[in-house]
Structures are given as structure tokens and as C-alpha cells.
């Protein structure tokens, strides 16, 4: 029903356009959707804001790495969550090829790395130091990994380089790739029942922080070029021998032609900035409260009018 009303508002607004917004093209602004909740809800939030302004919006599900190529070509118009650790490389590569622009940062700090729920610390008190984790490797062993510990990494298409890090730091762990984010939550959920120690890939901002308190493993601090220059980091002969940046950016990106085609929407996009708690809240509405993304977005917009109304002027 909600769709209907927004459609109606959009229709009415389109008939009587404001002078400011008149310049926006009536072609749909294509917003990509990926496979984690906060991004989906945030995209819906921004989409509904654009619709409120009288724009046409369409959502398309895409791969989170391939999307930068699509933004570059204008197939999709923007990308709302560019995580430094996860997509920095794809984003930079697309920037070099041209066609995509950086529309500024969210007021949020991102971090993604090896992570454990608090109960793990009881069994391995030396944490969060990575050396301590390595000494406890046997605690994380499963039937399949033998005497090595098991680290459940993100899906392969997230390109996390867990394996490379284990090799570079000569850790006693085996890296298993989960097929999806679901696998990660399932693993933590299953471990929670008998407080089994686990170490998995996780990130912030994320709903999981609210459900399972935990900490990131402290690896050797990130140095620029750790993924390109073997000399950086403790192991002089290997790449990826550092932790991920602990205060990564969360950017917005857009297709080069957006500013010209939808100037009003672009101006709003430039102002849009979400904080860590806001993003975690968006994820929570879907992951914990089981709302549909568009309902979650509507709910969020309703509860946070003071936040987004200021962007419109």
C-alpha cells in the first residue's frame, strides 16, 4: 500500500513540479541493491526520499563488486555504501577508468575483520591479540579442519584475502568461505547455544553487534600499500600481512552523468550522510524485526524526519 501512496505522491508532484526540481529527468534513477541488509534498507530510504522529490526510482539487484563497472557505464546511477575495506579496490579501479565520481563520505567509520563473540574470550583470554588467537587455534578446530582452527570467511565474491593473511602470518588456521552472509549468522547462532568459541568474518556497522556482543581481532596495524607492497607489514615477503583499516571510510559514489541529468537528486545525495548507529538500526529493522526493506525504510524515514528533512533544503 505504501508503494501506492508514494506512487501517488510522486505522480502528483510530477504534475505540479517545483521550480527547483524541474530540471530532474523523468528517467528512473537506478539504485543498486546488494546482499546485506543495511545497504538494502539505506537504498530504499534514499529511493523513497528521491520519490518524495518527484523522481522516478528503480531498484536493481547487482553484485557488490561488479556494481562499480555498472555505475561507470551509467547502467546504475549511484552506490550508497562504498566500504573502504571491501570495495575500495573495485571503486578505485573504476575511478581510474573514469565515469564514476566520489560523492563524499557518510559520517560513519567502517571496519571489517576477523571477529569473535564475547564468550570466545572466556576460552581464550589473551584475545583480541592475533598471536593469542593463533595460540588458541586448537580451540577452533572442527572435524573438517583437523588440528587447525577454523576461520569462517565471507563469501568468495567479497574478496577478503583471509587465506593470504593466514599464509602471510603463518597462522595455524584454515580458511573456509561461507557461501553467504547467512552462513556467518548461522555459525554464530549455532555456536551461541553451547558457547563454543568461533572466529568469523564480521563488520561494523552491522545489526550483529546488537545481537551478539563481540570484538575484532587485533592484527598488525594496517599500513597503506599492505595489499600491494610486500615490504609493508611484519612479513617482508608477503602481501596482506596486516589487519584491515580500523577506521575505514564509507563513501557514496555516483555515475558521472548524474549531476547533469538529475541535479536536484544529486544535490541531495551530496548531503546524505548516515552514522554508525543509524546504519545499524536500518539493518536491525530487517534482520531482527523482519520487516520488508521498503517497510523498514518507510519506518526509518518516519522515525527520523529531523535527520533527512534537512537534506532536502
Amino acid at each position: 500500500m505504501n508503494k501506492m501512496t508514494t506512487a501517488l505522491t510522486a505522480g502528483v508532484l510530477a504534475v505540479a513540479p517545483f521550480a527547483v526540481f524541474a530540471a530532474d529527468s523523468s528517467d528512473p534513477i537506478v539504485i543498486p541493491i546488494h546482499n546485506w541488509s543495511s545497504q538494502i534498507v539505506m537504498s530504499n530510504v534514499v529511493g523513497q526520499i528521491f520519490e518524495e522529490m518527484g523522481n522516478n526510482v528503480e531498484f536493481v539487484t547487482t553484485d557488490s563488486q561488479a556494481v562499480y563497472e555498472s555505475v561507470r557505464l551509467g547502467d546504475v546511477t549511484l552506490e550508497l555504501e562504498v566500504w573502504e575495506g571491501a570495495f575500495g579496490a573495485s571503486f578505485r579501479a573504476a575511478m581510474e577508468k573514469g565515469g564514476i565520481v566520489d560523492v563524499g563520505d557518510h559520517d560513519a567509520v567502517t571496519r571489517e575483520d576477523w571477529w569473535y563473540p564475547m564468550w570466545t574470550k572466556d576460552a581464550c583470554p589473551g584475545l583480541p591479540d592475533w598471536k593469542a588467537l593463533n595460540d588458541c587455534a586448537a580451540l577452533f578446530a572442527t572435524a573438517e579442519t583437523g588440528d587447525k582452527g577454523r576461520y569462517l570467511d565471507g563469501p568468495v565474491d567479497w574478496l577478503k584475502h583471509g587465506k593470504e593473511r593466514v599464509e602471510a602470518l603463518e597462522m595455524n588456521f584454515e580458511v573456509i568461505n561461507a557461501g553467504s552472509a547467512a552462513a556467518l549468522w548461522a555459525e554464530i547462532g549455532a555456536a551461541e547455544a553451547d558457547k563454543r568459541p568461533v572466529v568469523v568474518f564480521n563488520w561494523t556497522p552491522n545489526f550483529a553487534e546488537a545481537v551478539w556482543p563481540g570484538e575484532f581481532v587485533e592484527f598488525p596495524t594496517w599500513e597503506d600499500g599492505c595489499d600491494k607492497d610486500p615490504a609493508k607489514g611484519p612479513n617482508p615477503d608477503a602481501l596482506y600481512d596486516c589487519g584491515n583499516p580500523a577506521d575505514g571510510y564509507l563513501k557514496k559514489a555516483a555515475w558521472e552523468g548524474m549531476e547533469e541529468k538529475w541535479p536536484a537528486a544529486y544535490a541531495v545525495l551530496e548531503k546524505i550522510s548516515f552514522t554508525n548507529p543509524q546504519i545499524a538500526e536500518m539493518a536491525r529493522l530487517v534482520d531482527v524485526d523482519e520487516l520488508e526493506p521498503d517497510e523498514a525504510a518507510a519506518e526509518w524515514l518516519e522515525a527520523n524526519e529531523d535527520v533527512w528533512k534537512t537534506w532536502l533544503n
Binding site: 501506492m4 541488509s37 561461507a178 557461501g179 547467512a182 552462513a183 530487517v286
Partner: protein, 659 residues
Amino acid sequence: MASVTTNAVSPATNQLTASTIAIWFGCLAVLLTALQYAGILPSWLHRLPESWIPPFALWLDAAFNFIRTDLGLEKLTRWFAEGPLQFMLDTTANLLYGKRRWPNFEQIPWSAIAAAATVLGYYLGGWRLAALAGGTFVWTALIGQWTIAMETMSVLMVAAPLAFVVGLGLGIAAWKYAWVDRAIKPILSVLQTLPFFTYLLPAVIFFKVGPTAGAVATIIYAIPPMILMTTLGLKKVSPEVVEAGKMSGCSRWQMLRHVYVPAARTEILVGVNQVIMLCLAMVVLTAFIGMPGLGAKLLAMMGSFKLGRSFEIGVTIVLLAVTLDRLSKAWVVKLPEHFEKGTPWWKRHKYLLVGVGAFAFFTVLGIFVEWFSEIGRRQSWSQGKEIDTAIKTFLAFDIVQGTTEKIRYVLNVWILNPFRDFLLSIPTSAFILLVVAGALALGGRKPGIYAAVFFGLVALTGWWDRSVITLYSVISAVILATLIGLPIAILAARSEKWSKRTLLVCDTAQTFPSFIYLIPAIMLFGITATSVVMSILVFAMVPLVRYTVEGLRGVPPEMTEAADMSGATRLQKLWNVQLPLALPTMAVGFNQAIMFAFFMVIIAAFIGTQDLGQELQKTLAGTDLGKNFVLGICVSLMALTFDMAIMTWAEKKKRALGF
């Protein structure tokens, strides 16, 4: 998923030499492996050195880029995607779920579609089909999945007719001109074994991410069976019918339109059935490249581990699949009705009129009573959370957990991992020799040569280890499927009643989009090799059971009676009479099981595998067309090797048995 085979039956004289060569190759392979274990095998015989591996991916990339930009193919495909294709998709999208595009109607009320489907079901197959068709749409609406289901249907409604037209055209061409047939056959074989991830990336690159790319991938995927069935049907048209057509002075076009195509009606309609089913299966899978709808929702729900909702969506997909399958199959069986001259128009088209009437009634009703037009999510009967809790409680029972844990432990630690390590420890050279020996022994010289070339190519691509891991999943799943499926099939084949029931179950299971099989596997066994093998196992068991039952039931009654008269026990009869006679048919099922397994193992990348599927999934995140294609071809080559060897064998056996 009918499979293409080259009907190469080598003369019996070759058989002897072929099997001797096979034995020699086998021995050589064992020797090479023994040498490797002893540590004295030269390393280049163990694995091809990196430097020998030609950069296929780079060459292919260069070729693709040339075709894409220099030849301007991309401009053409993009024009097609953004022009006509987008237009068609937008139109169906507007009608079915009210996307704001031409012709800018409101979405068709769900009740109107359900009513029309009910009438269609009644027309094609009586009350039972009417209940199935109507019930499916009512369920979809009530459970609150109408919009996503219609997103899927809107693409299906474009893709299936296009695949039908192209397939029919190519099929007619292949029947008419021998050279087209010759050119198409090998391409079809490769297309049918190519993993679906390989369809997806080129589709995205050439046809824009989103529904257009999804529709194109779906169309290409669904074309092969249509071509095959068309050619098959046209070839079977009896000369008398052709004569009759000629005598009444038909032109060539008239011959085709009024003689050949109607005479081949059954085969063509079977083709239509397959096109629809493959389209549905693929539309769900194209969620990976941004196709909205049931597949995307299922992916998202599984992605946040909401099992209840995933289950509900799974039910919807299965219901839709079964409905579409039954409706199109009923159409195959339904003979065209003939009316006496002078029957009034309304009488000849009474079902059409009733359908239109019901449709119009509910459309109007929908305007006045909102509920009949759209059911919001809050009104829906979705029990996602409750089912979720139920499933999780069930999984948390100690007995369930204990059992799955044990199965998982035994399979992983005692069977799967050692088997994988063993396969990986075999030197490449010995592995190829073994495969060639197998192909020689089964099919004779020609499959043997193909096996050598195909596996040699796989080794040359440099993806050997991953290919072996892929093969390991396939082999272990098919072996387990055989161990479980054969006894079931043999038991079922004992009685008419149970055979029918089993076939019905198989029929239904075969219509499930493959993705469905992942859900229970993940739920029970988590992210392990066991769930990968389990999902493949279930999927591959279907054709195996089906063909075994059919093979056993197809044994001529004279034969079993003769066995009964000579006083054979049940076991003797089964072992000495029924199984040998059913073997060729069973081999076809076995072959299909392997093909299904190759298909499924790639999808299982969603669970988390370490094989070619994982690498393929990775390529979807980029623009590595070359690598994507090389990986896909690896899977295809391995599957084709099996296909050729087994089908040649079955063909030969059939001939020997005089079928």
C-alpha cells in the same frame, strides 16, 4: 534437460582392441600413481608446470573485446536490450505488477488472474487442474508474494515465447538443411553442459545488468531442447501425411504451416513444456545477476537466514513450476477439438468466453473491493516467523542435531575428505589415462579419443585441482545417489501402484528449480562439504530413480514370465533377467544423474565450495569474461566426456539387446 549425444557406435571389432587398450591405460595409470607415491615421478607428469599453460583466458579476453567493441557487437546487443527487449519486459511488468511504463495500466488484480487460470486449468485438464492452477495463484496472493511472483512471471512471459520462436525456427532450419544440423549439434551439446554461471556474465556485459540480461540468459538457456524437439518431431512426420499435403497442392510454406508443424504437434508441445520449465528454473537463478522476483527474494531470505520465509517462497516456486508443467503437459495430450459446421461461435469458444468473463468480473470487483485487487503484506497469511521458529526448534532437537552431526562427521572425515585427497594425489597424467581407459572400455574408440582431448584441455587450462574437486563432488554424490536410489527404484518397480507413485514424485521433483534443493541441505548440514554433496545427491537421484523404474517396468513380460516358469527366485529374476534388460535405460538415467550433478555442483557454490563453481561465482564480481568462459568450458568438457562414453555404451547395449 534432455541431452545430446553423438551416436557413434564403433564396430564390434574395435571393441576388443579398445578394451585391451583400456586395460593397458588403466595399468599405466596405476603405475604412474605408484611412482608418484614413491616420490620418483617426474614433476611434469604429476601436474603440468605453470609455464606450459597457455594463457587461454587472455586470448579469449582479447577475442571477446574484439567482438565486443571493434566489431560493434556490444552496440547491437545494447540496442536490443534497451530497445525492443526492455519494451517487452516493461509492458508485461506494467500489466502484471503495475510498473509505471507503457501502457500505464493499473496492475491486473490477482483475483482476475487466478480466475482466468482456473478456467484454463479446467479447459485443459478438468477439475483437478483447475484447482491446482487456481489454488497456486490464490496461495501466492494470500501469502503476500504476489508482486515478486509477478516480477518473475513478467520475465517468463517474455522469455518463454522468444525462446520458443527462436528454437522452433532453428529447429526447422536444422531439419531442412543438413549443414545447419551439423553446425548446431556440437554447439547444443556444449550449451547444455555449460554451467549457468557462464551464461550470466556475458549476458550482463552485453545486455546490461538487471532483467534484460536475465531474460537473455534465460532465453539462451531454454532454446536447446526446443530445437531438438522440433527437429525430432519433424523428422517423424509420416510420409503418407506428407504425400497427402503434396497432393492437395500445398506450397512450401503451406506444407510447413499446415502439414509438418501440426503433424509434429506433440513433440513441439513437449518442447514448449521444456522451454517453460527451463525458463522458470533459470529465472530463479538469474537472481545472481540482478533479476528481481522470487529468486532474488529467496536469495535475500536465505542470505539473512530466514528459513521460514525461504520455505514459503520455495513453496510458491514449486507450486508455480508444477502448475505450469501440468498445464503445458495437459496441452500436449489434449487433442484439438473439432466442431460440426454451423456450430455458433460462442459454443466453439465457450471456455474462452467464460475465462474472459471471470477475468472481467474480478477486474471490476477489484476496483470496488480492494482485497480482490491487492493483498498487502500486513493482511497476508505469511507465517514466516512461526515456520522459522518451528524449523529452528526442530533443528535444535538433540536427536536431529546428533544425527546430522554424525552423518556430517562420518561423511566428511571418513569418506569425502579422504576421497578428495586421494583424487588430488593422483598425477594429472594418470588421471587422464584412467578417464580415457574408462571411456574406451565403455564406449569404444571414439569416446576414448574425445575423453583424451577433453581432459587434456582441462589440464591445459591450469584449473586442474579445482576441476578435480568439482569432479569429486559429482562422483561422490552420484555414487551415494546410486546406493540410495537404486534400492528405492527396484522396490518401487515391483508393483504397478508404487511405480506410478514414484514416477509422480520424480516428475514433481524434477520441476523444482534446482535452487530449492539447497535450502534443506544448508538447514541440516550447515556450511560443509556434506551439504554440498547432499544437495547434489537429492537432485541427481531423481533421474536415476525415474529411469530405473521405467527400465524395470519396461522389461517385456514374456521375459519375466519365462524366468518365473524356469523357477527363478525373485532375486535371481531381478539379477539375471530384469536388471540386464533394464540396464541401457538405467544407463541413460545414470548419465542424466551425472549431468544434473554437474549442474548442481556449480550452484552449490552458494553454500561454499572450493571448486570451479567458486571461481565462477568470483568472476561474476568482475568483468573477466575470458576466465569465466575457460572455467565454464572445463565443466562442460568433463560433463561431455561422461555423456559420450555412457550414452555410446547404452546405445550399443540397446542394439545388442535388440530394442
